[in-house]
């Protein structure tokens, strides 16, 4: 208990410090805060959409506004919430997990964050222009996104904003790779790294190699719009399908960028709360590498209906991804098997993740089969699938990670009661919102429509889905109440509130400026566990020296 005086949260040294800091922890918190702001903003856009769809007829918004809503909902969630959330968590915890004082390039780190935020603000600033924000979907398919069909400043702001955040993503990824390969503490071999770090290695490689394809697609699109080129205009010899190839060569790895780190988080939390080591460490690493490799060869399964891609090849590679994903599932089960599982909030969210992601993963295999994809592509079936993966998967795992790590970042525990309430509301809300969408898609409801005739029989499922969306909003509200109350009045966390394994639990909460006053010896993937056990065997006192 000698470290108690360090665990009292310190107030920030003035607002200016947040703008000028190059400390990876401060930048990590900036990333997380900005990501959560865009999570809420994009979520509000979704609530307006769900309200419009609750019953047949156009009640709330006109068609043009609706198109802006779904475009910016997807854009905000993918580029300004999902990716920054991943980079933010990596920023904060990668150096701590490998026993390093900071990232390899702290100034580049700060630059990447401010560039991301600038891009996000720019894209959303479209709402302030006379013609509104971009309105061609987050995928911005050409030629619809060209100047002839989408005139207006909002579209150009979108292109530049997304491109900036993409470049920032590459900078952050290179920084994380340099940190992990170059700054591990003595004894921290690659095969003693946390599984979270392994997932960040693969995620960073995916970002570094896939985001440039997005930058190219956006640069060419911008040239088509503003310089009169015709890369994607058939009239000038261009090809709309080329845009889709470039976009999805980025877009599918992006899905793994948004899920692998969360696999990593779940793989950190389940062992700690089961009080066992991870089952099949090398299997996890192998499966992660395999998913990363496969993810570059599956992009055209988003394009089966174009009739311009090799269906069997992309079907085979897409289905094969189910194999390493399956390995992970069974290794998670193996980790819990024989354990003594404590169902505190982080573990509850992991449980939610396992069931929801299982559902999303399985419908993904349907979509990998071209005959079935011809049937459900671009319908609500796909919307259901992607939300089970990215909401049921990534967002549940994100909340698990936040409940697990906010005590480390703030020094104070979040409320268990509110956390459980948050979990139950989110689980019920998510299934009410997204499960009926499978049936809507099967019954022929296309994506991206503001309205449907009553005669199509979609009203009931849509009403349930809208009710679910508002339950999700309520759940998120409970989370923010929990966050604000606990940051002020939560009980002190101490260094290691969960009985953790990895190095972040060997330092104070929050960690000091250079992270560690001393490091425990690193002889396995669980250095903090090892030291705790040795101390317990050495004497009844235990505790850190």
């Amino acid at each position: 208990m000698a470290t108690l005086e360090h665990s009292v949260p310190r107030t920030a040294g003035g607002l200016l410090e947040w703008f000028t800091s190059v400390d990876h922890k401060k930048i990590g918190i900036l990333y997380l805060s900005s990501a959560l702001v865009f999570f809420v903003l994009s979520g509000i856009l979704a609530l307006v959409m769900r309200s419009e769809l609750a019953q047949p007829g156009l009640q709330l918004v006109d068609r043009q506004t609706y198109a802006q809503l779904f475009t910016m909902h997807g854009t905000g969630m993918m580029f300004f919430f999902g990716t920054p959330m991943v980079i933010g968590l990596a920023n904060y915890f990668v150096p701590l997990h490998i026993g390093a004082p900071d990232v390899a390039f702290p100034r580049l780190n700060a630059f990447a964050f401010w560039l991301t935020l600038a891009g996000a603000v720019m894209a959303f600033a479209g709402f302030l222009t006379a013609t509104g924000a971009a309105a061609f979907g987050w995928t911005a398919y050409a030629p619809l996104s060209g100047d002839a069909y989408s005139p207006g400043t909002g579209a150009d702001l979108w292109i530049i904003g997304v491109a900036l955040s993409g470049v920032a993503g590459v900078l952050a990824a290179v920084n994380l790779l340099a940190t992990i390969f170059g700054m591990r503490a003595p004894g921290m071999s690659m095969l003693r790294m946390s599984i979270f770090n392994w997932n960040i290695v693969v995620t960073s490689i995916l970002i570094a190699f896939s985001f440039p394809a997005l930058t190219v697609a956006l640069a060419l699109l911008w040239a088509d719009r503003n310089l009169g080129s015709s890369f994607f205009e058939p009239a000038g010899g261009g090809d709309p399908v080329l845009y889709q190839h470039l976009f999805w060569f980025f877009g599918h790895p992006e899905v793994y960028i948004l899920i692998l780190p969360f696999f990593g988080i779940v793989t950190e939390i389940i062992p700690v709360f089961s009080r066992k080591p991870v089952f099949g460490y090398k299997g996890f690493v192998f499966a992660t590498l395999l998913i990363g490799a496969y993810s570059f060869s599956v992009w055209a399964h988003h394009m089966f209906t174009t009739g311009a891609v090799d269906g069997p090849f992309f079907s085979a590679t897409s289905m094969l991804i189910a194999v390493p994903t399956g390995i992970k599932f069974f290794n998670w089960i193996g980790t819990m098997w024989g354990g003594k599982i404590r169902f505190q909030t982080p573990m509850l969210f992991c449980a939610g993740f396992l069931f929801m992601f299982l559902m999303g993963g399985i419908t993904g295999v349907f979509l990998a089969s071209p005959p079935l994809d011809y049937f459900v592509h671009d319908t609500y079936y796909v919307v259901a699938h992607l939300h089970y993966v990215l909401f049921g998967g990534s967002v549940f795992a994100m909340f698990a990670g936040l409940y697990y790590w906010i005590p480390k970042m703030s020094g104070r525990m979040l409320s268990e009661g509110l956390g459980k309430l948050h979990f139950v509301l989110l689980l019920v809300g998510m299934n009410a919102a997204f499960f009926p969408m499978h049936q809507l898609g099967i019954d022929g409801m296309q994506r991206r429509i503001p309205d449907y005739p009553a005669s199509f029989g979609y009203a009931q499922e849509n009403l349930v889905s809208t009710a679910g969306a508002f339950l999700i909003a309520l759940a998120v509200l409970v989370f923010f109440i929990n966050l604000f109350v606990s940051l002020r009045r939560g009980p002190l966390a101490g260094d290691d509130p969960w009985g953790g394994y990895t190095l972040e639990w060997a330092t104070t909460s929050p960690p000091p400026h250079h992270n560690f006053h001393r490091l425990p010896p690193i002889r396995s993937a669980r250095p903090v566990f090892d030291e705790r056990r040795e101390n317990a065997q050495a004497g009844p006192e235990g505790g850190s020296p």
């Binding site: 061609f136 209906t305 069997p312 079907s315 289905m319 404590r342 299982l358 671009d378 022929g444 296309q446």
Partner: protein, 240 residues
């Protein structure tokens, strides 16, 4: 463990029935192939879902910590043999699903050597133009004036799909098919409907303001009636 086999298999059966029943039977040769494939996928997916979910639930319920028990559980770190087994099982399942996919892919993409009619589909913002090749018949229309084309039952009809401006997608929900309409490219889809009726068509790829209103109707009639309709249309169009 063995006493759980019955409830789990009952559950799997229930999910299976639910998952297969939600897809309507398509009244076409190609659609039925999709129905069959979806049915097989649904059965296998239901088994995987229920077994995996049951294992997750079982491990959570069985190994939850008891309040007073503070001792560390056994610290085992893996089992290579087990991991190889659960590497092999999904691989086998995926290979089976892939082979089934290939078979049905041939059915849904097969081109009839001699289709009864070739209909050129031209999508635009926001409507459809259908031209019966060699017949001099064109049907077109947009929102609030949905075009209605007529096709014969029990005969293959080929649709050659393209677009004038932005990308659209030719989608017949009840027939379980869809193919993109892309400017500068042509996609062909053959359909053989076997039940007379009116089938609603939609645009599935977001194409701007009136995307949701870009509907059309395919009316399937017996071959003789189709010929009669075609001749009548030819005269109408010729007189116009």
């Amino acid at each position: 463990m063995t006493r759980l086999v019955r409830p789990i298999s009952c559950m799997a059966l229930l999910v299976m029935v639910g998952a297969s029943a939600c897809v309507p039977q398509a009244p076409s040769v190609q659609g039925r192939a999709v129905n069959q494939l979806y049915g097989i996928f649904a059965v296998i997916a239901s088994i995987i879902f229920v077994v995996t979910a049951a294992l997750i639930a079982l491990s959570m319920l069985r190994y939850r910590a008891k309040p007073s028990d503070d001792a560390l559980p056994a610290q085992f770190e893996g089992n290579v043999k087990l991991e190889l087994i659960w590497f092999a099982i999904p691989t086998v399942i995926v290979v089976v699903l892939f082979i089934l996919t290939l078979q049905k892919l041939d059915v849904v993409t097969e081109r009839a050597p001699d289709p009864e009619s070739i209909i050129e589909v031209d999508a635009y913002q926001w409507g459809w133009s259908f031209t019966y090749r060699g017949e001099g018949v064109n049907i077109s229309g947009g929102p609030h004036n949905d075009p209605e084309l007529v096709v014969p039952i029990d005969r293959a009809v080929a649709f050659e799909i393209s677009a004038e401006d932005v990308q659209h997608s030719f989608y017949l929900p009840r027939l379980l098919i869809k193919r993109d309409a892309i400017p500068g490219r042509t996609n062909r889809v053959d359909v053989e409907i076997d039940e007379p009726g009116r089938y609603i068509g939609k645009c599935a790829e977001f194409c701007g303001l009136l995307h949701a209103e870009m509907n059309f109707v395919v009316r399937a009639v017996p071959p003789l009636e189709y010929r009669a309709w075609l001749n009548e249309r030819k005269q109408d169009d010729g007189n116009a």
